[in-house]
Every structure is written in structure tokens, then in C-alpha cells.
Subunit: 351 residues, 4 copies
């Protein structure tokens, strides 16, 4: 049995990790870390876990934790892991970080968008960006995995094959993303109260959201050169789910024509046909967040618009599963040589 | 492997059965019956099942089905099973009926509340009312299980120990129940449109809902005599979940005092302490539907009101799981001698 | 023009007062009091008011306010008004208090249920309980109006005629009430976050909610003697609306029969036929919160259950309008001799 | 008093017209047309109108209607009005058509996108496109007003000043729009059931939605030449509200720099400063649908993205008010020389 510790176990992403790991046959949770709830029974904080988890919350002492477990998940605020990580910890336990601390290779970019200094840049290079479908082999050999953001996982997977194969012009890429409210976390803020979110919809972080450079970096690798995109997140009155609607100019073929549906579909299939957790839908069936709720799937499809020469790509995932805890477990499975889908055979719940 | 067939696989309860059985290690679904969608790929009707179910929908021929499977689940309109069931079918396959056809022992009561004639009353006697926690031993030996209704499962489990042990006066019992909208089914009716249900709450079937006689019959067995109760269902703007708030007069002890919290708690524990799927919560923690969503649990608690001499009992479950498909699987597990919780170790999803 | 001041203008009830008074032809708001937002433009706090309200928030200085306005609305926490009210204020301005400070005539009852001392009990006697349909004449002559609670307005109006006329036994009365989340206020609490309330339903304050003694006092006046009832509030995932489902034993007529539908209907009509804001629905049409949303109406109906000898009464209102700000405006209209419905001719919004 | 008739009074837009006209001081509704509910009391179909509307539903006989009223509102399916309109009707009553029949000047474009033949193209030329803020003077002189679509009103108003003044390149315009579910109408379709829409989000009509040519035509007039845009609508789990997020390349100034915030703001102010129903928000405050709910306002703002050279424009309105019935009333006010905001002084309802 793999022994796992979770730091930040009482946030929504941490709680989802608990839900998934309770159903994982090869793992045992040894440490429910939560600074705010130390010594409180975990089942008192998340009452869905009543009688399922007996443990109480513990502190966030990574040094102590590293001695007791094989893998540490950090579902913590930006900057926390960077401020405490050291070689000793990494030499004793693998770390899957759900924060953004090691996602961006260029420290200056990180510090500019996150507006905090980075306390341990020496680990950035070795950290592997844990988008499993793309970096699978590197993850297997890693000690430190930077688990991707929810918006970024959805945005990147949706456009990746077309950027990689030069089907679209990446500098025309516009990502209009819509997220359920669990992405905003469990902090008690007026703006996230039921009555403020319900029956409401808004954009936020316009032209300034922190997931922008993460998408640009990863799709830039695919493009083979740095790219600049537009990314706009929106808050939707639902608990879970991200839908990314992405627009880009199609590169015309030498004869001036646009690529056909079949040609584009073949490109998606090249990358995803063997991927269990990415489902490219049938023609003219567009992703809906409800069809992946509670599961690790990302549903993707596209539509070619002959009139404008653009393609509209759409992707949907559950922000707490494939967008956070599910992908973290997928990364753990890779790190420990387990079946990649162990603990993740969750059928989407509908309705 | 147990071979299972589902008639009515494209209703919400049927689809939930599919979700649960896909995760059941000892079962294989051989027949996705749906009169309305014959020959359509099941994954086209429920797109959450895309790539998870390859089969297409079939008709509702129970005769043919009985030859091919070990167990038949009928998630069909009232009267359907009663109109087609016969000895030949029952001799070849076990039947778990999610409709009301065999739940009520008195045909006259059935016909009065359901306003249809009963076509095969000869099977009513042998049918076992599949409330597993109460009729476990009879279910194990049954051929035909009448799977309880969603409101009834919740209402009965919440009050059962106190009725059985004479703690409350059952004729003072008032059940005020609130249900998510999936209980209304997938039929295209104006009253169930998003805009009619959302931001709205109403009672319906007041003093006339069909689950009333079912609750009365079962709690009457517990009381040892026929009882009459008030039952009022309400429609709540959420997908899943039933909350039953139940009121009754406490029987005073010989010295005129009311039973104490500890005494009542002990009665609940007597019946449910060993029950995996019934969780009696800690003092003053009241059930919430979200804490059981997606799972087979029923959460229960109570509050003694010294001022009025009444007790307020509360129970919560997921109407599609413990209130329908989950209990059906639990019954199947009992019928076939499997671990009762096989396929049902679902951690509630929050948020 | 009547000059009005609002203390607590940035809570949900206060903001609803602003919405209603902006449409009131005889009133002008002179003071937007909000301790938390002093000097902030009101339209920054409630952006629906952008360009509609130019004023900034002011403090809660009632002495200063009383010099400038004709009427003061206090939508403040329990205990606030009691701690600052004095004869000087009351001699200069009428006061409509949306808190509970002057609703309960027996100070000991207030202090027991609210768990705070009452700082100015000398004004309790003169305060008029502002349930307009019942205390209209007293309100007209008052200086200080105790505006009823949201649950209480709904619960009392629904049962009042039947208690008053002895149709039901008030000691068997059970009120099961369901409320939208705006009733919980705008305070930033984890339990009121979108993800905690959405897709969830729960009871709270079971056998201990503060609106209980208020209902008991008022219905006790109607009954002619003190009564004790059961009251259970529930939180519903919607913004606005209260639905009260009320159960009571019908008193049998001398011949042992139950009163008929027509007899009960006649009793309701006796009290409400001329009331603009109480609508007794047609037979077998049950109230829905959405049908009164945004308006000052209370919709009421009932069902006689011959089987149990009980009657089920149902009432629905918008907790922020008839349950708070709308009734406060109705009281103001009475206080100043205006048309009682001035500013309140709001057609319910559907959907 | 202006006498008004409504054909299609039992759809959501028709019902909203009723709500608004009941509060309109100069209008009296004489005809509640609804083919599906003939002879049923209107208050039975929309119970929010109980006791507010006494009339019963009538048929859709425009000939008879034109004799009795001054203005006819048609909130009917595409093609209906075109199939019955004639000179006689237009000579007797003004017509405000909420369908798309006369919105598009080029019959071929209409027939291509709507896939029906146009039965009375002879009236297309004289019909005025009723986007009041832009075509106010023409509306005043019209007999036949083509009331704009909900998406189109929002999409056009949001971008209009920047297109008109050449600030953006209109052929780079991408409109990503999100709508509440009332936009889908009251028809009983499975896809619009509560359980299918709730907790879900999806795009639909991708690259094929009928509002596309309407936006293109109107913004093309502003640009001075035909334009082609991308438009993608999405369904959001809320009753009311449209949010349009629009992306376009900013035209650089002669010196190569982008226009500044102040310069763009000045352009918006030029067109909207005097417009009561268009509110350009303060810097970095982005529109939210809840802030305009129930009202005739459109809230607009923008953000310049220096990194991409794009501007992100955002607009929000209530699809049933400014997006349908409210604008229809605004057009009626213009047609009859009334105060343009008569009946439309509705304060947005929050929460």
C-alpha cells in the first residue's frame, strides 16, 4: 500500500482527493493536513465522510510527513510549498503539488502573474508539468509533479493536437472559459455566497488571470515557439465543471482550402484515440459539463466555420477531478508504476 | 458473472442502475431495454456513457430477456410489470421491480391509490418488500423483489426504530418530505422545465400521494397494527436528494417524563449500529442531502422538543441511489449471496 | 414627500427597501446607513443601483437621522435598535424596525430565545406588531412598528383565520417552513457559500428557532389563549421565497363531521377576500414561491385530509418583500395615511 | 389609453409583456392571444397573474384584433406573422413583432438561416429594426417594428460604438454569449428539463445560430460594409440573463499605439452617456447578469489587453426584458410618442 499525506485536505480540491483515494485500492491516507482545523475530526468538517474517515486533521509539517508517507499531495495556497520544500523532503517522498508553484518554468513570469516571490526556484527545473496525456513519460521518472490548473488542463487538452500539428494559428487563439463555483474555493467571501452567484453570470480576471501564462507556456512548447493568447474565465452558477470554448484561425492548405472535418478529426484521433480519459465526441455533439461530472474524463469536440475560416474547439471536464484531484491521482499512479486509471474508474453522474 | 437486464434503462433510475452496475465487479449488463429508443446507441441517449457502453437499446420483451439473464430490473411505469409477469419468467430469472406493482399487499389499496387494475395479483404474496435493512433475510430467499419507493425508503427508515419500539405514537406521525427533481422522471412536461422548477418550491400530491399507503403499510407492520399518517411531498430545485422531516408525539414513560436523548439514540443504535448504509449522525447534527449525494447512505437524526412533547426526526438520502437504483443493487447482492455492499462503496460527492 | 432613512441599507432586506422606495412616489431616501461601508457609494455595494442611487453610505447615528427624516427603517442585527432608541428619537420620527427587538411583548421570552438582554423594554408596550392585515388600525396610530419576521408573516397569515375561528386545534399546529437563502443574510459564512447551499437541503434551528415564540404569541392572541407549536425551518437552494406547510387537527363539528372545503374556504374569505396582498388560491391549486417572487403577495391554500382528520395549510411569500421590506413599506403607508399599496404594485416575476 | 393585443401571450416573452404592460400607465391589454390555451383564464396559465388578470386566452386572429387595438405585439414562432400580415392590418394597428420575420432585410439570408420561405417579403423594407438606442427616429415613424433578438440586442449594443467609430476591426469580432434558459422558451422538451440544464453548461448552435446574420447585418451598417463574425451561444443554468463576451483586434493609431482606456471610454460615452437604459460601468467593473435582472438595462464594459492587442467587451441584459418584452414596450412608447421609459422604470432585483 502506498501511504499518502494531504496538505490542505479541507479545501474542495483536498476533499476531492480524499474522496478519490478512499476508492483507490493501492493507497492509504495517513495524514489529513489542515492548518485551520487541527485536531478536529475530518468527518466533522466534511460530513459526507462521516464514518468513512476516522482521522482528525493534522498540521502542515512536511518534514514530519515526509517520514511517514510515500507521496505528499499539496492542495495549498500559492507560495506555500515553495516556501517549505527542500531536498530532504524530496528525497524521502514524492510530491504532487496542486498549487501553481512549480508549473511555470520562468520564475519572472511566475512572480509577475502571481505577485509573490518564489522561495525555492532551484526545484522548478526538475518539476514535471503533470498533464498526463502529454508528459506521461517524464512524470513516471519525476520526484516533483506540478499538477496543472483546472482551466489550463481543459484549455490545453482542447487545443493541443491542433497547435502541435500546425492546424491552427496559435496567436489567434481565444479561450473563453466557464467554471463552476467550486473552483473559487471554500473561503468565506461575500462574492461567493449562494445569493451572489446563483442566477448570475460574470467574467472575472479579464486579461489578467493567472492561468494565462500557464496555457501559453504549454501550448508554446507544442507550437515550437512562444505564443500569446486571450483567456477569459467566467463564473457559472453550478458547483462543478469547466467548459472551454476556444476560437482560432485555421491554417489554410497549400491550395487555399480549409482542412476538412475528417482531417481535423484525424489529428485529434492521433493524439487521443488511445487516451482513456480524453473522449473526442461524435460529429456535431458538443461537450456538456454534466456528462463528465464526478469523473476524470475530458470531453472534446470542434466545429469548422467555413464562413470565418475559424475553428471552434470545445472541451469540458470536472474541475475538481481531471482539473485537480483526479489528475493528481493519475500522476500518482504514474509515479508509482500503477495502472494509470486505478481509483479513477468513475462513471460520470447524470443527472 | 451475473448477467443483468434492465427494462426502462433510459429513465433516470434506469440510467443510475447502469452507472452503478458498470462499477459492480460481479455483474455484466446484457440488455439495455428502452421502448422509446430501440436500436439507438445507449451512449447517444446518455452521453455520460459515451465509450463506456457500446450497446444499443433493445425492446422490453421479458420473455426473451429471461432466457439470457440471471436478474431483470424493471424501472418501468406502474402497471407494466404486473401486465407481463408470469411464472415462466420468474422461474428463469430473478426480478427486482423498481415500480410500485408489488409493493402493496392489499390489491384494493393499490388499485385505489394508483387508479389502475392489477393484472397479476397472484404474485403479490410472494413478492418481498426490498427494504434491505428491515427485510434482509426474506429478500435473500425471494424470486421477486418489490424495490421500495424513494420517499418511502427515506420516510420509513427515519421513523422505523421508534415505531417498532413504541417510542412514538404512530398515528400522530406527519412526514413532510422534500425531493430533488430527478424524482419526477425524464418525461418532457412543462412543469418540470428548468425555468418552472428553478427558484421555486411547492407541495404537490397533498393528502393524495401514492407513497402514503406504502409508508403506512410498512410502518403498520412495525407498530403491530394499521396506522394512518400525513405525508406531503415537495419539489425542490435540485437534481438529487430527499429530505424527510417527520413529526410525532413521544409516548411518555410511566413516570410521565419524555424519553431522553440517550434513550432514543439507543433505540436507533439498536437497529442501525451495524448497518453500513444507515448513518445516525452525532447529536444536533442534522442530515443534509448533499452529504449523501451519489451514495447509498441514508443519514438520520432527531431532536426532542420538550416544549411540545414531540420528536422531530430527519432523514436524507439520494433518491436515485438508496431511493432507487442503489437499493435495487443492494437487493440483487442479497438475492445472489454477494457482499451486500458490492458496487455500492460510493463516497458521497461534495460539493 | 416623506423623507426616509435606512439603517442597515446594505443587508439584503435593506437593499430591498431601497429597491421598493425608489419606486414609491411619495418617498425620498435621505440616508443610506451602513456601518460597514461608510463613505462608499451605495451603487458600488449594490451595483444593480448604479446610476440609480448617487448617495454614499452613512453611519448609523439615529439621533442625527431623526432630525432629517420622517421615518426610520432599521434593518439591523437583534439588539441594535433596543440599545439606541429613546423618546427623543421617537418624538421626531416614526420608526419601522425590521429586527425582532419589539416584536415580543414578554421581555423574558425575548431574552430567552434571543440570548441577549433587552436595553429598552419601556418601548415594548407601545410598539405595534406590524402584520398589516391583522393589526392595520393600530399601525395607523403607532410611532414604533415591529415589522414581523419572514417566517412568521408566512406562518401566521396561513393559519390565522382558522385559529381565530376555532376551525383547528392550535396546539396540534406544526409548521414546516422552507426558505430561500437570502433569509440568511449577506454575511460571509462558509455555510452560506454557493457550493454548500446549492444542490442541498437541510433543516436548521430545529425546535429552537427564534421565530417560534413570535408565531406562538400572535396565534395565541387569535386563539384567545397561549399556544405551543412546532416550527422547523429549512434552507432551500434558491434566492428568495418562503413556503410554509402547516398541519393541524380540524375541530369536528357537533355532529362529529369535519368541516367541508366550502366551510373552510368561507373562513379564509371572511378575513382575506378584501385583502389585496393575500390571495387565497382556487381549489387544489397549491402555492409556489415563484408565483409571488418580487411581489408583496402571500398566496395561501389548504387541503382537508379526511383520512387523518387534519388540514394541510400552505402559504408562500417572498421573504424579502412581504417577509421584510415590502411589509415595512406597507406599514409606512399606513403610518402616513397613504394608499396602503403605494410602491407595492409589483407584479410577481415569472420565470 | 393605448389598447394593446398580444399574440403569443403564454410564452415566456409574452408573459413578460403582460407583466410590463400591467405596470404601464398608458396601456390596457385587450387581447391575450394563445392558440394553445384558448378560453382558459390567463391567471390559470401564469398563476403569478392570479387576481391581476381576469381575462381568458383568445385565438390569434389578427384581423379581428386589428379592429380592437392600437398596437399588436406578436411573440410568435418564426414565420407566423409573415404568413398573416397584410396591408389592412397594418393600416389599422401598429405591429411590434418579437419574432425574426422582419429583422433581416435580405430575404435570401432570412430563408437560408431560418430554413423557411418568407410569406410577405413586401413588408420587409418598411419594417424598422427596433433597437431603440440606434434607430430611435425611424421607430417613431414606423408602422411595423422588428423587435431585435435577445442575443443580438446584447451583442450589438456591446460592440456598436467601437465598430461605428472604427476602433476595432469588425472582421476579427468573436461573440461568445451565455444565456439563461428562459431564452429556450416554454416548450416541453427533454433538453430543457430542470435535471438536464441544472449543474450543466454547453454551447449550442455552434457556427450556425440564427442570430448571427442579424448581428452581422446591424454591425455591418455601423461598419459601413458587410462583416462576418463568429457567434457562439451557450446555455447557462439560470432563468434569466444574457452575458456577451466579445473579442476583437483594436485598430492601432497612426503612431502604432493602441487606443487608451480613456479614448475607448470616450467613444462609449459619446453613444451611451445620454441613454437611460445603457449603463457603461466604471473602470474594471465587469457586467453581471444579476445586476440587470428584471430591468430594461444593458450593462456594458471593456478591457484593453495590451499583450494581444485585443479588446474584450462585455455586455449583460435580461433576455426577457431588454432582450424581448422590455424593448418591445420601449418601441411602443416611441411609436405612440410617450415617454420612452414609461412602464420600464424597473429597478433590477438583487438577489
Amino acid at each position: 500500500m502506498i501511504k499518502a499525506g494531504i496538505i490542505g485536505a479541507t479545501g474542495y480540491a483536498g476533499a476531492e482527493l480524499v474522496r478519490l483515494l478512499l476508492g483507490h485500492k493501492e493507497t492509504e491516507i495517513k495524514w489529513y493536513g489542515s492548518r485551520s482545523y487541527i485536531d478536529q475530526p475530518y468527518g466533522d468538517v466534511y460530513r459526507n465522510m462521516f464514518q468513512l474517515v476516522d482521522a482528525s486533521c493534522m498540521d502542515d509539517n512536511l518534514e514530519a510527513l515526509a517520514d511517514q508517507v510515500d507521496v505528499i499531495f499539496t492542495a495549498t495556497p500559492q507560495g506555500f510549498l515553495a516556501s517549505v520544500l527542500n531536498e530532504g523532503i524530496l528525497s524521502r517522498a514524492k510530491v504532487v503539488d496542486l498549487s501553481a508553484d512549480y508549473r511555470i518554468k520562468d520564475v519572472a513570469v511566475y512572480e509577475k502573474w502571481y505577485k509573490i516571490g518564489h522561495k525555492s526556484p532551484q526545484f522548478i527545473d526538475e518539476a514535471v508539468y503533470g498533464l498526463c496525456e502529454i508528459n506521461r513519460e517524464q512524470v513516471k521518472k519525476a520526484r516533483l509533479v506540478a499538477n496543472p490548473g483546472c482551466y489550463t488542463t481543459c484549455s490545453i487538452l482542447t487545443a493541443y493536437p491542433l497547435v502541435k500539428e500546425g492546424i491552427i494559428d496559435p496567436d489567434t487563439l481565444i479561450v473563453d472559459a466557464k467554471s463552476g463555483t467550486s473552483g473559487a474555493g471554500r473561503g468565506a467571501k461575500t462574492q461567493n455566497l449562494f445569493c451572489e452567484v446563483n442566477e448570475n453570470m460574470k467574467a472575472y480576471g479579464v486579461a489578467s488571470h493567472r492561468h494565462t501564462p500557464e496555457i501559453e507556456e504549454q501550448l508554446g512548447y507544442a507550437a515550437g515557439h512562444p505564443i500569446t493568447i486571450s483567456f477569459t474565465p467566467h463564473l457559472v452558477p453550478m458547483n462543478r465543471g469547466i467548459l472551454a470554448t476556444e476560437y482560432a484561425k485555421l491554417n489554410r492548405k497549400p491550395d487555399g482550402s480549409l482542412p476538412s472535418y475528417e482531417e481535423v478529426k484525424a489529428v485529434y484521433d492521433k493524439y487521443y484515440k488511445e487516451e482513456k480519459f480524453v473522449r473526442v465526441l461524435e460529429k456535431d455533439v458538443f461537450p456538456e459539463t454534466k456528462w463528465v461530472e464526478g469523473s476524470n474524463y475530458t470531453d472534446i469536440n470542434f466545429k469548422i466555420d467555413e464562413r470565418t475560416g475559424r475553428i471552434i474547439m470545445m472541451g469540458a471536464l470536472d474541475n475538481l477531478v481531471k482539473g485537480a484531484a483526479g489528475q493528481a491521482v493519475q500522476n500518482m499512479n504514474l509515479l508509482f508504476g500503477l495502472d494509470e486509471s486505478e481509483g479513477l474508474d468513475l462513471v460520470p453522474m447524470f443527472p
